[in-house]
Symmetry: C3
Subunit: 138 residues, 3 copies
Amino acid sequence: MKSYRKELWFNTPHRRDFINITPDVENCLAESGIREGLVLVNAMHITASVFINDDESGLHQDFEVWLEKLAPEKPHNQYKHNSYEDNADAHLKRMVFGREVVVAVTDSRLDFGPWEQIFYGEFDGKRKKRVLVKIIGD
Amino acid sequence: MKSYRKELWFNTPHRRDFINITPDVENCLAESGIREGLVLVNAMHITASVFINDDESGLHQDFEVWLEKLAPEKPHNQYKHNSYEDNADAHLKRMVFGREVVVAVTDSRLDFGPWEQIFYGEFDGKRKKRVLVKIIGD
Amino acid sequence: MKSYRKELWFNTPHRRDFINITPDVENCLAESGIREGLVLVNAMHITASVFINDDESGLHQDFEVWLEKLAPEKPHNQYKHNSYEDNADAHLKRMVFGREVVVAVTDSRLDFGPWEQIFYGEFDGKRKKRVLVKIIGD
């Protein structure tokens, strides 16, 4: 069994952003030389997500509005977590969108349906944060 | 390390449906001959989910009502995604229910608790869509 | 490829509780002798979650309030599932927080960012329930 590990770094310009990281993960897979196995891609921070959905800008605006409705950022003092911090909403939003994805590797490729794309979902940005790519297989 | 891959196809009669696919995944596992490892089961489309919960019809009606409350289908024009499409709500519902499950394989069996069952959750059906089953192990 | 399996048992004092199980999973990893691979940690019951977030008590109180807002326990008769049971809300809460986490193993350690901790999220407790830890790798 082979294994491969890489960290991807991000520093988003806004508090909340969605970044398509599919090409980065494809590069990792090519570098790994793994032909059959599984890729794990996870946020290493607890106020961010890695998820799979469509790369469509209207949809991403819908994500923003919807997550703000489910777990609003403000007023900051509605959350017990926010005594010295202001990011409780980011911890909640990440629970809806999830920490990680696991993707099959088949014939050296991400084994995806027609519209699947991997995104980094940042909910408390404007600082350096990381995503882990771990691949195991043969 | 062995690996196995199969696509399961669905064409649900309604826009939204829940289908118990546990027997299909068990058949895949038997076919794979893998005794110890991991099974990944994921929707290949971004308006559908694969998840694990109880096979209880009242609960599935509760799922439908609850998801419609969290991410209502209508009015379609409340979503930016819906300029040429009408399925933004399906993209959101899938974020709550998730894309995939990873299940342990132990002694050639899905290593499940007493009530765990795998479901395909369709949120934009009435057309052909796929689920991927990928198994790795020995 | 090596594989390792262990069940962790819980009997929480309240209907809803969050328990940090990171040390338990670290013990499993040490016991397994696996240096490179993946750990799957999943609730074996469908009214509980395993998830990764921050070990901060204010945040856990926010989780409780927020989940009760998204999927309130009472009145019990608002849910079709609750004809002989009263735990439909627990099935829904578990869908938000998820069933499982998959964590990379690198150099015999859980490959975590600075604040990542694994939690058992109980939504229908006061009885014995289990979590599965499955590790595969070399």
